[in-house]
Point group: C2
Chain length 341, copies 2
Amino acid sequence: MNSTFNYLLHVSFVAASLVSTGEYLIAGEAAAYDKTKKAELRELATTFFGVLPAAMPGSEEDNDHRRHLGEKLYFDTQLSKNNSISCNSCHRVDQGLGGVDNAPGSTGAFGGVGDRNSPTVLNAGFQLSQFWDGRAEDLQAQAKGPVLNPGEMAMPSEEAVLDRLRMDDTYRALFVKAFPGAETALTYDNMAEAIAAFERTLITKDRFDDFQRGDDEAMSDLELEGLETFTSIGCTTCHTGPLLGGAVYQKVGLVHPYENFSDIGREAVTANEDDKYKFKVPTLRNVAITGPYFHDGGIATLGFAVRKMAYMQLGLELTTEQTESILAFLGSLTDKSRTGR
Amino acid sequence: MNSTFNYLLHVSFVAASLVSTGEYLIAGEAAAYDKTKKAELRELATTFFGVLPAAMPGSEEDNDHRRHLGEKLYFDTQLSKNNSISCNSCHRVDQGLGGVDNAPGSTGAFGGVGDRNSPTVLNAGFQLSQFWDGRAEDLQAQAKGPVLNPGEMAMPSEEAVLDRLRMDDTYRALFVKAFPGAETALTYDNMAEAIAAFERTLITKDRFDDFQRGDDEAMSDLELEGLETFTSIGCTTCHTGPLLGGAVYQKVGLVHPYENFSDIGREAVTANEDDKYKFKVPTLRNVAITGPYFHDGGIATLGFAVRKMAYMQLGLELTTEQTESILAFLGSLTDKSRTGR
């Protein structure tokens, strides 16, 4: 009897918290935004972010032949030693997925699990560099890596990859079409360049950009409140530019440490102690569908990721209301063109 | 050329880290344990933990009729308002799952998501109380809660539940068999008692108990090293007894805070400020298959959960080796009887 009573007390507690916790996004709590206020917020957003450009850097020389070849390569499991995985296995661009596999670490050709979270391939070519630690300067350089990584696609050598592709009449013809005039069309560099050409087509479209372009109805009041919170508490120190990230390296654990002390981040690339625990700031475009979060995929929910980032990087203890509005804002960054949202 | 070179450098870095990071559990690194050392470790384990008892408290009055009725109720979606979910929807005991649904928060009958992670029902009756905040004193009291919680199964009243059950000839007969001699067999209390009787059968079996019972081959050297690490660094301050948890309440964020500042934990039950952020210490039996972790399901991986617990509760920065061995040890707590492991 006593425990039933306690439970019922708690039911009301839970019911009340439905309205006020980060996991329940109830519209209608935010202050109403009128036309003037929306125009101000649009100007603020444009200052910090701006819309995604229509074309990706380096795409000037791309053409349909090259993009078509790249797409075929991107989905081809022949690029892994035992024909088990393709680029798309870890960076999923099909089925409404956000360019990731939603696993903390991805599974390689032989079943090993990587210790870093696969970053999204969508919009990737807009970033200052590739990989969490920025060790590849562009998409082409990135594409060469996982194919040969023993923990990923595990091909023994560039030559072994080319041997496979050369045995395929279709590939031989496609490479010649994609790289006309080249003395040897079917090279490892050209393979990577074709994959990059395909990846340069992977640009998202979302309601945040609709709002920035002038659509006053594109975002809810709670989402706009989240945009205000996001810009006012300091998130934009790192999450700036059209990607809301991808533009700078930053130490994870700036004010309070991140509890994975084993991954030293960019120091492994630069051998500079100042780069210990530095990682490329990830883009927040599509963030709602690209969990789990952080470089090791250690964080399960976006709500906790937001709370943890605020505390760890800014020293802030976010309230439920702040978390809730920021989560709503981040939801406006979800790709409409692939997910139908 | 330069970026390829950098990448290859990194490949070796990654390859080296395969052996040394928490996500890759490579056997053979641990020191060899001989018969004497194993006997010492067995004594240590028995002091801190001991094997799971063969029967659960309160099961003395249980019988097959009651357990059978309870099992039927446990899997029956009629206990939710729109017939969409059963007890088993959030606390999955089928398909080799560890008594949970592996979601950060569980989805209620009408699609809302709870802000606490569904705890495992396996071994639950061995715990000092039920729910993360201990607001139900036993399994029977617990079973009454979610059925009526508007965010969970959302039945409007006890009477509404009984009305449904009474309309079913089979249930009417089963209740009479399960509670013979009762003036009214089909009551809400008896429904909960039958579910509890079923839940009292849910006891796991694992290799850690095999080891504690004397099987020197039950655990690998790395797992034994993890047991030593676990007991030596202070985890046993809270994770004690046969469940490696479930015996005390403790503040989450003892040395460094947990970043979700909105869920005050047991304070909501006791109205005592000293209980702010206190939660029942969860059992570690089956922990490897019951993620995501912590009361809000905010942590995605067991490796990060271990590192974060060590830092947050003990102020320790775990090395890769410590994390790896503890993870191996925790793997020995996975239920063999349900998962075949």
